[in-house]
Amino acid sequence: MTRDVLIVDDSATIRQMIRRTIQLIDLDIGEMFEAGNGIEALAQLADHEVACVIVDINMPSMNGIQLLRRMKDNPHLKDIPVVVVSTEGSAQRIQQIEEWGASGFVRKPFQPEQLRDVLKPMFGVKVDGGGNPTETDEGAF
């Protein structure tokens, strides 16, 4: 079973920050692939099997919502957990993200623990209570 991750954000800075955060947290994660938008992400997903996709919303060419919907419409990609990491704070949008099939949401700026807690269940680690998102908060759905 793969333990690789795909990080999708148009900001190379944020991709690097997420990469560093993942290296800091105590999870057995394999290779980390990167993409700058949804189109690049789909190309990466065609080439690599990943355990999880971490995706921003606000990106050029194909944004994170469009990518999420394309993945959920694709029988080969629909079961890959998607964690949205975004500046988004709208309760309505977070609800939409959940309804469209995302597995978790983390709001920027985030602390390493917040990302770790959302990623844990995707890598077979039990979550110690809590962790469920509130209306405008983050967590695993």
Binding site: D10, P60, S90
Partner: protein
């Protein structure tokens, strides 16, 4: 309106810099470094309200910000591209935080992709009318956040 919004702009700017980049806000009364070039990042958010935000800072501040975010504090060369990218992301996060601070969490706001402009002479960076300006001093550098609500053309 400006009196009500300005403290919220200042707080969001200070909080995001502290949480994202560990950059604490200094007393505004202290001398901030005056430097050039001055960069400006613009973003818009559209929903029930239409807002243009501009973040203005020194290139040197932007470079330090990028170093902090990339974990290269003082130990690596930061390119212009990295500096711009870090400042655009700062703007993006500030915009997302301001949407909920000013307008609550019920409505959806769509953000545009941030754009960077550079001014060799900061004095040429004009302030559009009806703009609320918040300024802070961090790491000895002045950082400004400009806020302007507008009605889109054709609406």
């Amino acid at each position: 309106m400006a009196e009500a919004i300005q403290p919220k702009l200042t707080k969001v700017l200070s909080d995001v810099l502290a949480n994202l980049a560990f950059m604490l806000t200094d007393d505004l009364a202290m001398e901030c470094v005056q430097c050039a070039p001055w960069i400006e990042v613009r973003i818009e958010m559209h929903g029930r309200h239409h807002v243009e935000l501009r973040l203005r800072c020194c290139r040197e501040f932007s470079t330090i910000l990028a170093g902090n975010l990339l974990g290269l504090e003082g130990s690596g060369v930061i390119s212009i591209e990295q500096s711009n990218d870090a400042t655009k992301e700062l703007m993006n996060i500030i915009c997302g935080q301001l949407a909920t601070t000013l307008y609550g969490t019920q409505d959806i706001y769509n953000l545009t992709i941030p754009e960077v402009y550079e001014y060799e002479d900061p004095a040429t960076a004009t302030v559009p009318s009806k703009t609320v300006v918040a300024a802070i001093c961090t790491q000895g550098f002045k950082v400004e956040l400009l806020f302007r609500e507008f009605t889109p053309t054709g609406s």
